[in-house]
């Protein structure tokens, strides 16, 4: 008798779950059957509505690997809205894995929707196992959340001894502040306190969106420095400031004319195009340093040094990063084999990094070119509005052609982040064919042959 009473109650509880499972199955089936981005986006709506952990996992997979950027972004948004318990953790993993810039922003937006999402990121920053690039991604996500509660965290990280993390925190903080008084005061303080070019350039770079007349004095002081990079950056901001002020205060041409009836010549009118622009360049080198490069490495080091000096000499707003890759058995060993220099404004840091590189390590399973490409494209702190380039200098075939092509392809198609490929023609007489395909997917055409 008691069983008869409990059964309807049990059915009452289980029915929504069963319905949800059924909806998830249908949504997953629809996703599997989808042949184009539009159909996948339609399936995303169904997965979001189903709200289960299985659906959330499917959405996370789309965020990570769909070939269409719009699908990735929609999937991230859906993860933010879904009721699935696991969505928060899945989004956190996506933050740490990075991706194209639009995806990073979408994931941050989605995580902000979750209760304690910002707290998860803040806790992640403190985890000892996190790499610098992962911490950079976490800071960027905190910045993109535009949540007032994250401001203190970002402020703490601005003075981090690692200039890369300090720059990421500052960029996040300034980009969302819309020139509020506190941010301008912070910029003035940093411009006065920081002494060397490597400390000042990130501030000058980050200050452009929040440019305010209150910065003028600090900028004028920087024009007395003797480091050309600092002077050029400060001078550029002053010119932008002047142009904006003129545009705001310029009087309109008076109606009528002078006493002879000659129509007054209109004063020079500044249009938005008059605001000076200074192109930004982010360049990341990927260099094979497996044991087989022992004979060619010194020449490549020289070449890279010369290239960087040339670019610096041109007075560009330039940041350079570096990944030296080797081989290894298993993903962890391969990851450990990477030597990473995050994007930096300081060419002397790059020179020191390049000078310290040593050939070594096996590549019987192929050197980790695809893994290096993935880390560079997905995790480096690329700047929006910069000309972004990855320069792969390979000494052998690529260990995961499909992954490398897919990654180079989506970053180029979606955001014009280019992948250039150079091949050191040493013992082989021909360039591996997959390198050509990676270069084409990366938007740069043929492989450059280095002999």
């Amino acid at each position: 008798m008691r069983r008869l009473v409990l059964l309807p109650l049990l059915l009452l509880v289980l029915t929504p779950c069963a319905e949800a499972d059924s909806a998830t199955r249908k949504a997953l089936a629809a996703l599997k059957a989808a042949r184009n981005p539009a159909q996948r986006i339609a399936a995303i709506g169904k997965l979001e509505a189903s709200g289960g952990d299985q659906a959330a996992a499917a959405l996370a997979r789309l965020v990570a690997g769909d070939p269409a950027i719009e699908v990735r972004v929609r999937a991230a948004h859906a993860l933010g809205r879904t009721r699935a318990e696991s969505a928060r953790e899945l989004l956190f993993e996506r933050v740490v894995d990075g991706g194209p810039l639009a995806v990073r922003d979408a994931v941050a937006w989605a995580l902000a929707k979750k209760a304690k999402g910002a707290r998860l990121l803040t806790a992640g920053l403190e985890q000892a196992r996190r790499t610098t690039l992962e911490r950079g991604l976490l800071l960027r996500a905190l910045g993109a959340m535009r949540d007032e509660g994250t401001r203190d965290t970002l402020l703490r990280w601005i003075d981090d001894p690692d200039p890369y993390l300090g720059a990421e925190a500052l960029r996040g903080l300034v980009a969302r502040a819309d020139g509020d008084g506190a941010t301008v005061a912070l910029l003035v303080r940093l411009l006065r306190e920081r002494r060397d070019a490597s400390g000042l350039l990130p501030v000058l770079d980050a200050a452009e969106p929040a440019l305010d007349p209150a910065l003028r004095l600090a900028l004028q002081r920087l024009t007395t420095f003797l480091e050309p990079a600092v002077v050029e950056a400060a001078d550029h901001l002053l010119r932008v400031l002047d142009a904006r002020v003129v545009a705001e205060t310029e009087p309109q041409p008076a109606k009528g004319g002078d006493r002879y009836g000659t129509p007054e010549a209109p004063p020079p009118t500044r249009i938005p195009g008059d605001v000076p622009t200074r192109s930004r360049h982010d360049l990341v080198y990927l260099l094979d340093v497996t044991g087989s490069t022992v004979m060619t490495l010194p020449a490549l080091q020289d070449r890279i040094r010369q290239e960087i000096d040339l670019l610096v000499g041109l007075g560009l707003n330039l940041r350079v990063g570096f990944i030296a890759y080797r081989g290894g058995q298993g993903m962890q060993a391969r990851l450990r084999g990477l030597e990473v220099l995050p994007l930096t404004y300081d060419p002397t840091r790059v020179h020191a990094f390049v000078a310290d590189l040593k050939s070594g390590g096996v590549d019987d399973r192929g050197a980790s070119a695809a893994l290096a490409l993935r880390v560079a494209l997905d995790r480096m702190g690329w700047r929006v509005g910069a000309r972004r380039t990855v320069q792969l200098i390979a000494d052998g075939p690529c260990e995961d052609e499909a992954d490398a092509i897919a990654r180079a392809g989506i970053h180029y198609r979606a955001e014009r982040t280019r992948t250039k490929v150079a091949y050191v023609l040493r013992t082989r007489t021909q360039v591996p064919a997959e390198l050509d395909r990676i270069a084409k997917a990366g938007g740069t055409g043929a492989v450059e042959v280095l002999e």
Partner: protein
């Protein structure tokens, strides 16, 4: 890589600090260490062969009561006879007088042989060398030409302080400046204003002028490199003093840049941009060594060996009697200097050839005589003279 020559480097370091007539060497070392700790090495300016590194205050300090280095008042002195003389110098205010400062009294010019600290009203005796000049100079020329008896003059005065050394050097400089021979060499101003020097010097002075108030007016000193060697280190206690000094010194440094290029036959040749990373590294190491200077006396009572684990022969530090200033002779560390080394030194001697005497360097009296003869022969051969 080619080894750098063991060419002695004459570094002059002017100390600020409270005037203490009885201050011992250890006090001087402490003051020196403090002064060096107070500045950091920053990128400076390159003008052809002349490279100047900026020394910028770690903490802004522009206290007018900061001590003798803040004073820029002129000097008065009472001349004695003789070519190397001890003269009584007086100053209206406390100040540091660098080596090579031009003293002017009546028709004669003199150059201080060693740096000294002068206390207001008290005066001091300073060893000075008479510049062979029979002409007067304008009253305001002291500051203008203070730096003109520049690196080479200071080098000769301190490395080879024989009575005729400065005169020979000036003769050489007159020759390089394209001035006619004369039994009595003219004043230093004549070298500065020689047609061969004027234009290039003005360009150099203009290019270097920014160092006076660089880094938001926090620059407090400089290290000047001429060619492939550092030649002068000057640190002032206050930024305003540096600005005044620099305006006075820049003309002299620029002039010596011109003469140096003429000496090495590099006038008009394109000059490679300097590797600033390397220059800043070398400068930082030199300052670091200066800051640790002197723990034991060498056989020569006036010399103090620099403490260095890796380079026992980095150089010698010389304190003046009051222990308030020093002169440093040093050699580049490591296999490479910050600049490309000219293939040939003055007079055609390979620059990587060890000098006959380390303490005397290359600018000995005999060398200068040989060099003048050689240059004269070449120029006569080319129909230039």
């Amino acid at each position: 890589m080619r080894r750098c020559p063991l060419v002695p480097l004459a570094l002059l370091l002017v100390l600020g600090g409270p005037p203490q007539a009885d201050a011992g060497p250890s006090d001087a070392r402490a003051a020196l260490a403090e002064l060096v700790r107070g500045v950091e090495v920053r990128r400076g300016i390159q003008h052809r062969s002349l490279v100047v590194v900026a020394l910028v205050a770690r903490e802004p300090c522009d206290d007018p009561d900061a001590g003798p280095a803040c004073s820029t008042a002129g000097l008065a002195w009472a001349p004695d006879e003789g070519r190397v003389e001890v003269v009584a110098a007086n100053a209206a205010e406390d100040r540091v007088v660098p080596t090579g400062t031009l003293l002017r009294e009546g028709p004669r010019e003199r150059v201080t042989a060693y740096p000294l600290v002068l206390t207001a009203g008290a005066g001091a005796h300073v060893e000075a060398i008479r510049v062979p000049s029979g002409l007067d100079v304008a009253a305001d020329a002291v500051r203008t030409f203070a730096g003109l008896a520049g690196p080479e003059a200071r080098h000769v005065v301190t490395i080879a302080p024989h009575p005729d050394a400065l005169g020979e050097l000036l003769e050489l400089e007159r020759f390089l400046a394209g001035l006619p021979d004369g039994d009595v060499p003219g004043p230093l101003a004549a070298i500065r204003d020689a047609p061969r020097v004027t234009t290039a010097r003005a360009a150099g002075a203009k290019a270097l002028a920014r160092l006076a108030t660089a880094y938001g007016g926090e620059t407090r000193g400089y290290v000047a490199f001429l060619g492939h060697r550092p030649v002068e280190v000057v640190v002032s206690k206050a930024a305003s003093t540096h600005a005044d000094r620099w305006r006075a010194a820049v003309d002299g440094l620029a002039t010596h840049g011109v003469l140096w290029e003429e000496l090495y036959g590099r006038t008009g040749e394109p000059v490679e941009p300097v590797d600033w990373t390397r220059v800043l590294e070398v400068t930082a190491r030199l300052l670091d060594q200066v800051g640790k200077a002197g723990v034991r006396r060498s056989p020569d009572a006036t010399r103090w060996r620099l403490r260095s684990k890796s380079a026992s022969r980095l150089g010698w530090l010389q304190l003046d009697e009051d222990g308030q200033a020093l002169l440093l002779e040093a050699w580049p560390l490591g296999d490479t200097g910050p600049f490309p080394v000219p293939a040939r030194g003055p007079g055609g001697k390979p620059v990587d050839e060890r000098p006959d005497s380390i303490l005397q360097g290359t600018l000995t009296r005999e060398f200068l005589e040989r060099f003048l003869e050689r240059l004269d022969r070449i120029r006569r051969g080319l129909g230039l003279r």
